[in-house]
C-alpha cells in the first residue's frame, strides 16, 4: 500500500467522505474499473499477441498439418516430427547448428571479456580502439559476409598470402569444403560478436568495486590472480547472459552461411544449419509449410534447452 497523500486535514476528510458515499451508493465503483490497467496494457499486449504469441501458436498448429504454401493441409498428428527425425538433412543441419553453438558460444563469452579488460584501461587514444572493435557490429551482415568472401576465396587475400609464402601448395578451400565453410562462418560470427559483447562486459567491469582489486593487490595477488579471482566472479552474471544471448543467436545463424556458401548452404548443402533448412523446405510453390513449421518448433525446443541451461547456471550461482 502506498502512503496516503499529504493533504490538509480538511481536504482529506472530504475525500474520505466522498469515497464512503461512493461505496454506499454503488458498491462496485472501484471494482467496476478493474479493466483500467488492462486498458493501459492493451496496445502492448495487442502487439505481443498479434506478432509473437499468435504466430507461435499458428506455427504449432501448422506443424501438425501437411499444409503446403498454397494449400491448407489436413491434420497429420506428429508425422512431420517423425519425418524430421528420419531425415538425414535434418540431422546434418542439427549437427551443424549444435556444433556452431558449441564453438561460437565459449569464444563469445571469453574473447570479448579479454578485449573489454584490455580497452577498459585508461590509456591515451583508447577511445579509438573501443570504436574500432565496435565497427563490425554496425556493419551490415551482407557487407561483412562479402568482405570475408573476398578474404577467403580461393583467389582471395588469405589464400594468395598463404600460397605466396608457400605455407600451402594449393589454395585452401575455405568456401568450397563443407567443414571449412562452417568454420569460416563461425569466425565471421565471432568477429562480428566481439565488439557487441565487449560493450556488455565494459558495463559490467565498470561496476566491479576498485576496493576489491586494491584489497587483493595488498594481499599480494598479481594481475592474473586478480583477473581470475576478482574480475571473473564479479562479471559472472554477465558471462551467463552473454552465453545465453550468443547461444540463441548462434542457433539461428543463417546470413553468414548464406553469404559465404551460397543458396545451397555450401557444396552439397553440407553446411546447412537449421534455419537454412527451414527456409529451404518452406520456400517456393511446393514449399511444405507444415514440415518447415515442425522443424521450427524443434529449433525452438533446442533454443529453449540452451536458455534453460543458462538460467539454471545463473540460479546455481545465486545460491
Amino acid at each position: 500500500m502506498s502512503p496516503a497523500p499529504r493533504t490538509s486535514p480538511k481536504a482529506g476528510r472530504a475525500a474520505r467522505r466522498r469515497a464512503a458515499r461512493a461505496q454506499e451508493t454503488d458498491h462496485g465503483l472501484v471494482h467496476r474499473r478493474w479493466w483500467t490497467p488492462y486498458l493501459f496494457l492493451l496496445p502492448g499486449l495487442a502487439m505481443v499477441l498479434t506478432f509473437s504469441l499468435w504466430p507461435f501458436v499458428n506455427t504449432v498448429v501448422l506443424s501438425l498439418t501437411d499444409a503446403q504454401i498454397l494449400r491448407g493441409g489436413g491434420f497429420v498428428g506428429l508425422d512431420n516430427y517423425r519425418r524430421a527425425l528420419g531425415d538425414p538433412a535434418f540431422w546434418t543441419a542439427l549437427t551443424n547448428s549444435v556444433l556452431y553453438t558449441a564453438v561460437v558460444v565459449p569464444a563469445l563469452v571469453l574473447m570479448p571479456l579479454a578485449l573489454a579488460v584490455l580497452v577498459e584501461r585508461k590509456v591515451p587514444g583508447i577511445g579509438f580502439f573501443r570504436s574500432a572493435y565496435y565497427t563490425p557490429v554496425i556493419a551490415s551482415a551482407v557487407v561483412v559476409g562479402l568482405m570475408w568472401q573476398w578474404l577467403l576465396r580461393s583467389d582471395g587475400l588469405v589464400n594468395t598470402v598463404l600460397v605466396r609464402l608457400r605455407v600451402v601448395a594449393e589454395p585452401v578451400p575455405f568456401l568450397t569444403d563443407g567443414t571449412l565453410l562452417l568454420v569460416s562462418a563461425m569466425i565471421v560470427t565471432i568477429w562480428k560478436g566481439l565488439g557487441y559483447y565487449m560493450v556488455f562486459y565494459l558495463a559490467a567491469l565498470g561496476n566491479v568495486p576498485r576496493s576489491l582489486h586494491e584489497a587483493a593487490a595488498i594481499d599480494g595477488a598479481g594481475a592474473l590472480r586478480r583477473f581470475l579471482h576478482v574480475t571473473i566472479p564479479s562479471v559472472k552474471p554477465m558471462m551467463l547472459l552473454v552465453g545465453t544471448l550468443s547461444a540463441i543467436s548462434a542457433l539461428r545463424v543463417f546470413t553468414e552461411v548464406y553469404i559465404l556458401g551460397g543458396e545451397s548452404g555450401g557444396p552439397g548443402g553440407d553446411s546447412r544449419t537449421l534455419p537454412f533448412l527451414i527456409r529451404e523446405v518452406g520456400l517456393g510453390f511446393a514449399g511444405e509449410t507444415g514440415y518447415a513449421a515442425a522443424i521450427s518448433i524443434l529449433l525452438f525446443l533446442l533454443t529453449l534447452v540452451f536458455s534453460l541451461l543458462g538460467r539454471r547456471l545463473s540460479k546455481g550461482d545465486e545460491r
Binding site: 501458436v57 551460397g262 545451397s264 557444396p267 548443402g269
Partner: protein, 444 residues
C-alpha cells in the same frame, strides 16, 4: 464477481478468435471462382483494375501512356492501375484470390500463371478473343494452355529470350574463333576445356553452379527429364552421367571459378572484370555491362544460345490474365489486347531491354537491324528476336522440376563435381531424391 466474469469473457473471446484464425490459416478453396466462362456483351465500358509486377517507377510513364491512350479510345472505360513489388507478389495474388478481389487484368509470370490457372481463376482468352492467336509467337501463345483443357488462359506479354554472350578477346586468346561459338553442350564443354588449358588460371570459362544449367543442359543433350506420363523423373541416363563427368573434369582443370560452384560468386562482377569468358545468357545483362564495364562491353560478342539437340530456346513470357469473374469482360479483354498489341509492345521494348511476344511487334525493323554488326546491344536484340520466333515449350523447365527438386539435384551434382562422389552415383541419387519429392507432392 464481475472481475472474473470479465476475464472469462475476454479469455473466451480470445480463444474464439484464435480458433477462427486457425481455421482460416492455410489456403482453402473457398475463394475459387467456379462460375462458368464469362461471355462478351459487346459493350466496352466500366471501371477495371490492372495490376502490374514491379513496373513503377522505371516504366510509370510508359504504362500510364498506354492506359491514357486506351481510355481515349474507349471513353466509357476507366482503368485503375496498381503496381506491386516483386517481393511477395505471388503471396498477394493468393490472398486476393481467396478474398475474391483479384484485379480484372493481372500481370502474371510463369509461376503465378500456373498458380491461378490451375485453380480455374482465369478466363479463357481464346474463347473470348478467337482471333488473338495469330498475333503472337506460337511458343508464347502455347505457354498459356493447360494440360487436359482446351483453352488459353492469358495473353502473352513481354519476354526475354536466352542468348549466348562471351568475351571475344579472351575467346580468341584461347585459340578459338569468335565467329564459331558453340552450338551444343558438348562443344561448349570442349571450348571451356581449351580455355582452361590456355588461360593459365587468369580467367575461367563459365560458372560451375549446376542450378543454372539444369535441367536445360540435359534437355539440350537429348536427356529425357520426365517419362511420358510425367509422373516420374527418368534423367538417370549415360548422357546425364557424361555431363557430370565433364563438369567434374572441367572444375578440376580450373575452367570454372572455384567458389562459383555454390552460386555465392557474382557472375556480373567476374565477367565485368574480364575474368570470365561466357557471360549470362540474358540481353538485359549486355546493357548492365555497357553501363558498368565499357571496356569489356566492347570485347563482348553475342551469338544464338546453345540449343543442342532441341534446336531452339525455351520461352518464359510475362502475361496478362483476365479474372474469370470480372464484371466488365469486354473492357478487360480489349484492354489486355491493347497492352499486348504490336505497337505497344515494341514501344515497351524500346524503353526496356525486353522483347515482344507479339509476332507483329517482332516484325518491327527495330528487331532486325544489326547496324554494322559491331555493337553488342544491337546484335543481341536481333539474335534474341530471331531465337524467339523459333522458341518452343519443350525447352522450358518442366513445372515438375520445382525448387525442391532443383535443390536436391543440385546437392548431388555439387558432390560429384567436387569429385567426392562418383558421377553415376550422383545422378542415380539425384533421380531417386527427385522422384521422392515428386511422389510426396502428388500424394498431397
Amino acid at each position: 464477481m464481475r472481475h472474473t466474469r470479465g476475464i472469462r469473457l475476454l479469455t473466451s473471446g480470445l480463444l474464439l478468435a484464435s480458433l477462427l484464425a486457425t481455421a482460416a490459416c492455410g489456403l482453402s478453396a473457398s475463394g475459387e471462382d467456379t462460375s462458368g466462362e464469362p461471355e462478351r456483351t459487346g459493350r466496352i465500358a466500366g471501371q477495371i483494375t490492372f495490376r502490374t509486377l514491379q513496373l513503377k517507377p522505371n516504366f510509370t510513364e510508359y504504362v500510364q501512356g498506354v492506359i491514357d491512350a486506351f481510355e481515349k479510345e474507349h471513353p466509357d472505360v476507366r482503368v485503375k492501375w496498381e503496381d506491386v513489388p516483386g517481393e511477395g507478389y505471388n503471396e498477394k495474388l493468393v490472398a486476393d484470390a481467396q478474398a475474391g478481389t483479384l484485379p480484372d487484368v493481372v500481370n502474371l509470370n510463369t509461376d503465378s500463371f500456373q498458380l491461378l490457372a490451375d485453380r480455374g481463376m482465369l478466363a479463357d482468352v481464346a474463347a473470348l478473343d478467337p482471333k488473338a492467336r495469330a498475333d503472337f509467337v506460337p511458343g508464347a501463345w502455347d505457354q498459356y494452355r493447360l494440360p487436359g483443357r482446351s483453352g488459353v488462359y492469358a495473353y502473352p506479354w513481354y519476354v526475354t529470350p536466352e542468348i549466348l554472350t562471351f568475351n571475344a578477346r579472351l575467346y580468341r586468346a584461347a585459340g578459338l574463333d569468335p565467329d564459331k561459338p558453340p552450338t551444343s553442350v558438348e562443344q561448349y564443354f570442349d571450348h571451356a576445356e581449351r580455355i582452361a588449358d590456355r588461360s593459365g588460371g587468369r580467367y575461367a570459362a563459365f560458372m560451375a553452379d549446376p542450378q543454372g544449367r539444369l535441367p536445360g543442359d540435359w534437355q539440350k543433350m537429348g536427356v529425357p527429364i520426365l517419362d511420358e506420363r510425367r509422373d516420374a523423373f527418368v534423367f538417370d541416363t549415360p548422357k546425364a552421367v557424361e555431363w557430370v563427368e565433364r563438369m567434374r573434369d572441367l572444375y578440376a582443370k580450373g575452367a570454372m571459378p572455384r567458389e562459383s560452384l555454390t552460386g555465392s560468386q557474382d557472375i556480373n562482377q567476374l565477367y565485368g572484370s574480364g575474368r570470365l569468358v561466357f557471360g549470362p545468357g540474358s540481353p538485359g545483362f549486355i546493357k548492365d555491362i555497357k553501363d558498368n564495364a565499357p571496356k569489356v562491353y566492347r570485347e563482348t560478342a553475342v551469338a544464338p544460345a546453345v540449343t543442342g539437340k532441341l534446336g531452339h530456346i525455351g520461352i518464359y513470357t510475362q502475361s496478362l490474365g483476365i479474372r474469370k469473374g470480372t464484371r466488365h469482360v469486354d473492357a478487360a479483354v480489349e484492354f489486355a489486347k491493347w497492352v499486348t498489341n504490336g505497337p505497344n509492345q515494341v514501344a515497351f521494348s524500346k524503353a526496356a531491354t525486353i522483347y515482344p511476344s507479339n509476332s507483329r511487334g517482332l516484325d518491327d525493323p527495330y528487331f532486325s537491324d544489326r547496324g554494322d554488326g559491331s555493337d553488342p546491344e544491337t546484335v543481341a536484340r536481333v539474335v534474341g528476336a530471331e531465337q524467339l520466333r523459333e522458341a518452343g515449350l519443350d525447352a522450358n523447365t518442366p513445372v515438375e522440376w520445382t525448387n525442391q527438386v532443383g535443390d536436391a539435384v543440385n546437392r548431388e551434382m555439387h558432390r560429384a563435381i567436387k569429385g567426392d562422389v562418383r558421377p553415376a552415383d550422383a545422378v542415380r541419387r539425384a533421380q531417386e531424391a527427385a522422384n521422392r519429392i515428386l511422389r510426396n507432392q502428388r500424394d498431397r
